[in-house]
Amino acid sequence: MTFRRPLLRLLPLAFLLAAAALRAEPAPLDPAALPPAWQTRLQALSAPAALRVAFTETRGTPLKKKAVVVNGVARLARDRGLSLEYGRDDALLILDEQGLLLRRPDGRDQPAPAEAESGVRLLHALFTFDLPTLAKDYAITAEEKTGDAWSLVFERREGSEAYHRRLALAGEATRLTGIQLERDARHRIVIALEPPKISSAFTTEELARYFR
C-alpha cells in the first residue's frame, strides 16, 4: 500500500506534536499573584537551611573561540547567602545581602565596587528567588515542561539598566538544575547544577570560611 509510507514518515512528527501539546506554553508570571503551584515550588526552593551543590559553569567570553568550562561547589545558607568555590587556589565569590565579596586564598576580602551594587542586588534576588525585586527590572516568564521540569526566564525591561539582559532558572520539581546569565550574545554563562546535598546547617568552620 503506497499511501501508508507517507503516513509512516509523518509518524515521528505526530509524536512530537502530541508531546508539545502536553507541555504548557511559556506564560508571563506576576509575582504579586503567583499561581499556587509556583508559590509551593518557590517556597520549597528557598526552604533548605544549608545546601551544597556541585556545578559546571560554561562561560562564554568574547576572548575565546570556545566557551570556558569550569567546575565548582556552591553553598547556599539561607541566612548568610551564596558562596561559590571554584578551586582550592582560587578566590571564593560570596554573594549576600551586603553585596558581592571576593575572598582571596590568603584571607583578604575585596568587596565589589559600589557601581556594581545594582547588578549584584539583582543577582542576589535571583539566587534567593525574590521575584518581586527582579520584576522591577525584568519581565518574568514561567514555563511548565514535561514531567516536573520548569523554567523561569527574566527578560530585561525596556529602560532598565540591569547588567544582564536575560536571566533564566531551570529546575525539576523543587530542585534547581540550571542557571543562565546573559549579558549579550558573547557574554553568556550557563551553570548546570548537580543534585544538592541538603543539611540542617553548616558547621561553624564552614560558615567562617565560606560566608561573611
Binding site: 562561560r59 576572548l63 570556558v68 569550569v70 583578604r108 559600589a114
Partner: protein, 768 residues
C-alpha cells in the same frame, strides 16, 4: 628726677608702646599654631617631617557627612551631596570637593591607570618576568617566546578564574594582567568608603593652611553656604564636618577667652587681697596703670624681637600682674614718716635691684633656649620685670606722699626655743625636699600646650570613622630628593618588609626607577616587539580570539613606538592626577618628595633604610623632642639659679649671700618635692615655674634681710607674696595643663617663701 620729667617719660613710654602695638597686624604677628612652639629649623628629622606634613595637603582635608531624614530618596540625597560639593568647589577657599559615595575617585583613577598602564605597571611586570627567566634555565626558547607562552597561560587561568567572568572587557586591553595584579597587591590602599543608606560622604581640600586665618573663616563660610545649598535640595539634611581648621579655630577662640578670664581673675584677686592689707583701697588704682604699662612694654619688646609670638606667652604673662605690682608694694609700703621719696628709693634700692636683678637674670638665661616659646617667655618676663621696676620708681615720683595706710598684721612671735631649732627645721625641710625630688617622674607631652577640646575631638573621631579612618596600624614616610629616589627607597623598604606585612602605598602605582629605565632600553623594546608577535601566535594556539585582543595590540604597538617619557615628569603628572584621598599619600616639589605607606601592624625599618624611611607616630612622636627641650630648660634654669647665687654673693658677700640664696632654693626645692610626693608628673612648665618661683622668693629674701624691724618692715613682702600667689593660683584654673602646672608650682613656692620669711627660718633679719 622731677615729677614733670617722670610724667613726660611715662607718657612717652606709653605712646611708643601703644604706637608700636597698634601698628602690628595681629594675624601675622601672633599665632595659636602649636607647631610654631617648635623651632622651624628643628634638627630632629621626625619633627621636621611632622612640621612639614601639617603645612601640606594632608592638613587641608575637610570631611563632611550629609545625613538625610528618614524616608528621603537616595536620588535626592545624591543630588544634595553634589550640590554641596559643587558649592565648595565654586568657593575660592576650596581647591577640591567631591562626594565619595558615588565612587567618583575610583571612576577617575581606573581610566587614569588604564591609560598609563604600560608606563606605570609594565616596567615592574617586565622586571619580575625577567628575574624569573634569569632564575630558570630556558634553553628551548628565547625570552620573548617564553614570556608569550607564560603570559597566555596566565591569561587562560585568569579567564577561567572567578574574577574572569566579570573582566572580559578589561582583559581585552590588558591581557598582561597589569591592572588585575595591581588590584590584588593594592587592595589595602585607601579607597572610597561605603556610606550607609541615608548618608553621603564629602571629601574636600582647602586652598590655605588651616592654621592660618585664610584657612579658617573663609572655609567655614563656604561650608555654611554649601550646607544651605544642599538643604535646598533636601530639607531636613543634617551636615557635620571636621578638619584641622575647626580645631585651630576652636583653640584660638578658647585661648583668647582664657587670656581674658585668667587676667581678670588674677587682677581681681590681687586687688581683693591687697584690700586686706591696706586701708586706703582707692590707692590701689595706682597699680592699674603700672600693670598695664609693664605688660605693654613686655609685649612691645617681645614682638619687636620675635616676628611671630605664640599667644600662650601672653597667658603665662598673666603672671606679670603679680610681678609688676611687687615693686609698687615695696616702694609704697617702705614709706616712713618724714622721709622724702628720693631717700626712700635710695634706702630700698639694694633689695629692689637685687630682687629684680635676679628675676631679670634668671629669665634672660631662658633666651638661650632653642625652643621659641621659652625664648619668648624669657624675653617677655625679663622685659616686663625690668619695665615694672623702672616704671614703678618713675610713677611714684608723681605721688611721693601716697600712703596706702597698711594694716598691721601682728603674727605671734616664735618662742625662743623655736628660734634655736630653726637650723634643725631647715635641715629637716631640705631632707623632705631632697626625698621628694628623688621621686620626680617626668611626663613630656606636647599636647599639654593645647587647649583641650574633648567634644570636638569626639565628633572628629566619629566623623573620621564614617570615612573608614581609624587609629590602628602603622604609618611610614619615605623621603627622597626626587620621586625617583623616594620610590627606590620605598622599594627597598617594601622588599625588606615581611611577606605578610600588607604594606600599602601609592608607591605601588609607580615603577621602580631602575625597572622603568630597563623597560625603555633599546634591548627591551626589541624584545617586547618580538613578544607581541609571539603572544599573538600563542594566544591563537590557546583558543583565544586574537581579534578580541585588538585593543591591547593597538595600544601596545603605539606605546612601543613612542619615546619614553621622563620618569620624574611622568610620575609627578600621574600623582597630580590621582584623585581624592589617595593623592595625599605622596608629595613632590622642587626640593623634596615623599611617599606614605600604611601597614596593619608595625614593621621594623632596618637601620640601613632609616635615612629614607621613618615610622610616623603623629604628634605623640614629638614628645621625645619635648623631653629634650625640658632637659635643656633644666640646664638653663640651673644656670639662671647660678646667676642668682653669684649676684647674691656679689651683693652681700659669700656667707650672707649664700644664706639669702638658700631661702629661694629651699622654698622651690620643697615645693617641687611636695608636688612630687603628691604624685604629680613633671614637665617643662614645672621647671619654668620653679625658675620664676626662685626669682620671686629671692626677691623676698633680699627684702627680709633689709627689714629694719619697723612694724611695716615685712608688710611689702607679705602683700607681694600673697598677691603673687593669688595671681599664680588663678593660672591653676587654666584648662591648658602646662599653664596650670606653672601656676601651681609658682604659687606653692611663693607661699613657702613667705612662711620662711615670716618665721625667719634662715636667720636673714638684721633686726630681730
Amino acid at each position: 628726677m622731677r615729677p614733670r620729667h617722670s610724667l613726660i617719660l611715662l607718657l612717652l613710654v606709653a605712646a611708643v608702646c601703644a604706637g608700636w602695638l597698634l601698628s602690628l597686624d595681629p594675624r601675622t604677628r601672633f599665632t595659636t599654631d602649636v607647631t610654631e612652639l617648635l623651632p622651624a629649623d628643628e634638627r630632629d628629622p621626625e619633627a621636621r617631617l611632622a612640621l612639614s606634613l601639617v603645612k601640606e595637603r594632608q592638613a587641608r582635608v575637610v570631611l563632611a557627612t550629609l545625613d538625610a531624614s528618614p524616608g528621603a530618596s537616595a536620588g535626592s540625597l545624591a543630588e544634595a551631596a553634589e550640590s554641596f560639593a559643587a558649592t565648595l568647589r565654586s568657593s575660592p577657599a576650596f581647591a577640591a570637593a567631591e562626594p565619595l559615595s558615588d565612587s567618583a575617585s575610583r571612576r577617575r583613577l581606573g581610566p587614569l591607570l588604564h591609560s598609563r598602564r604600560f608606563d606605570l605597571l609594565l616596567p615592574g611586570w617586565l622586571a619580575a618576568q625577567r628575574a624569573e627567566w634569569n632564575a630558570g634555565f630556558q634553553p628551548a626558547s628565547d625570552f620573548p617566546s617564553w614570556l608569550a607562552a607564560k603570559t597566555v597561560a596566565a591569561l587562560d587561568a585568569r579567564v577561567a578564574s572567578p574574577e574572569g567572568a566579570a573582566e572580559a572587557d578589561l582583559l581585552a586591553s590588558d591581557p598582561l594582567l597589569l591592572l588585575p595584579d595591581l588590584a590584588a597587591r593594592a587592595s589595602s590602599l585607601p579607597s572610597a568608603p561605603t556610606a550607609p543608606a541615608g548618608r553621603a560622604l564629602i571629601w574636600a581640600e582647602t586652598r590655605d593652611n588651616p592654621l592660618a586665618e585664610a584657612g579658617q573663616q573663609p572655609v567655614f563660610d563656604a561650608l555654611a553656604a554649601a550646607t544651605s545649598a544642599a538643604a535646598e535640595k533636601l530639607p531636613g539634611l543634617v551636615v557635620r564636618d571636621t578638619g584641622v581648621a575647626r580645631f585651630a579655630a576652636a583653640a584660638k577662640a578658647s585661648t583668647q577667652t582664657e587670656i581674658a578670664r585668667l587676667n581678670i581673675i588674677a587682677l581681681v584677686a590681687v586687688l581683693a587681697l591687697t584690700a586686706l592689707f591696706v586701708r586706703r583701697v582707692a590707692g590701689l588704682l595706682h597699680l592699674v596703670p603700672l600693670v598695664l604699662l609693664a605688660t605693654a612694654v613686655a609685649t612691645a619688646v617681645t614682638t619687636a624681637i620675635f616676628p611671630r609670638v605664640h599667644v600662650i606667652v601672653f597667658i603665662l604673662g598673666a603672671l606679670l600682674c603679680g610681678v609688676a605690682v611687687d615693686y609698687a608694694f615695696h616702694v609704697l609700703l617702705a614709706r616712713r614718716p618724714g622721709e622724702d621719696y628720693a631717700a626712700r628709693a635710695r634706702r630700698i634700692a639694694l633689695p629692689l635691684l637685687g630682687g629684680a636683678g635676679t628675676t631679670i637674670g634668671g629669665f634672660l638665661a631662658l633666651t638661650f633656649s632653642e625652643l621659641p616659646l621659652v625664648r619668648q617667655l624669657g624675653v617677655y618676663v625679663a622685659s616686663g620685670a625690668a619695665a615694672g621696676l623702672g616704671l614703678t620708681l618713675l610713677y611714684f615720683t608723681l605721688f611721693p606722699r601716697l600712703d596706702l595706710a597698711p594694716r598691721a598684721w601682728r603674727l605671734p612671735a616664735l618662742p625662743p626655743a623655736a628660734h634655736r631649732r630653726r637650723p634643725l627645721l631647715a635641715a629637716l625641710l631640705a631632707a623632705v625636699a631632697a626625698f621628694g625630688l628623688a621621686r620626680v617622674h617626668w611626663h613630656d607631652d606636647l599636647r599639654d600646650l593645647e587647649y583641650p577640646s574633648p567634644a570636638l575631638r569626639a565628633a572628629d573621631a566619629d566623623l573620621r570613622a564614617a570615612f573608614g579612618e581609624t587609629n590602628t596600624g602603622a604609618t611610614y614616610l619615605t623621603r627622597g630628593k626626587t620621586l625617583a629616589e623616594a620610590r627606590a627607597r620605598w622599594g627597598a623598604f617594601a622588599a625588606a618588609a615581611p611577606a605578610d606585612a600588607r604594606l600599602a602605598s601609592v608607591g605601588l602605582l609607580l615603577p621602580e626607577p631602575a625597572a622603568y629605565a630597563a623597560a625603555h632600553s633599546a634591548e627591551s623594546r626589541e624584545q617586547l616587539a618580538a613578544f607581541a608577535a609571539a603572544f599573538r601566535a600563542e594566544a591563537d594556539k590557546a583558543g583565544f580570539d586574537t581579534d578580541a585582543l585588538a585593543p591591547f595590540f593597538t595600544d601596545f604597538a603605539a606605546w612601543l613606538a613612542a619615546p619614553a617619557p621622563d620618569y620624574e615628569t611622568l610620575m609627578r603628572d600621574t600623582l597630580r592626577a590621582v584623585p581624592g584621598p589617595l593623592g595625599l599619600l605622596a608629595h613632590a616639589d622642587a626640593d623634596d618628595a615623599w611617599l606614605i605607606s600604611n601597614a596593619p601592624r608595625a614593621i621594623p625599618v632596618p637601620d640601613a633604610l632609616q635615612a629614607g624611611t621613618r615610622s610616623l607616630s603623629g604628634i605623640q612622636g614629638l614628645n621625645h623632642l619635648f623631653a629634650r627641650y625640658r632637659a635643656e630648660s633644666l640646664r638653663l634654669s640651673l644656670a639662671g639659679i647660678g646667676v642668682l647665687v653669684v649676684l647674691s654673693c656679689a651683693m652681700h658677700g659669700p656667707r650672707l649671700g649664700l644664706r639669702i640664696a638658700a631661702l629661694p632654693l629651699l622654698a622651690t626645692g620643697l615645693a617641687l618635692g611636695l608636688l612630687a610626693l603628691r604624685g604629680e608628673a613633671f614637665g617643662m612648665f614645672h621647671l619654668l615655674g620653679a625658675l620664676l618661683g626662685v626669682c620671686l622668693a629671692d626677691d623676698y629674701a633680699h627684702f627680709a634681710h633689709a627689714d629694719d624691724g619697723s612694724p611695716d618692715g615685712r608688710a611689702s613682702i607679705r602683700l607681694s607674696a600673697v598677691t603673687t600667689a593669688a595671681s599664680f593660683a588663678a593660672l591653676t584654673l587654666s584648662a591648658i595643663p602646662a599653664v596650670a602646672a606653672l601656676g601651681s608650682t609658682v604659687a606653692l613656692v611663693v607661699l613657702l617663701a613667705l612662711v620662711f620669711v615670716e618665721t625667719d627660718l634662715l636667720s636673714l633679719r638684721r633686726h630681730g
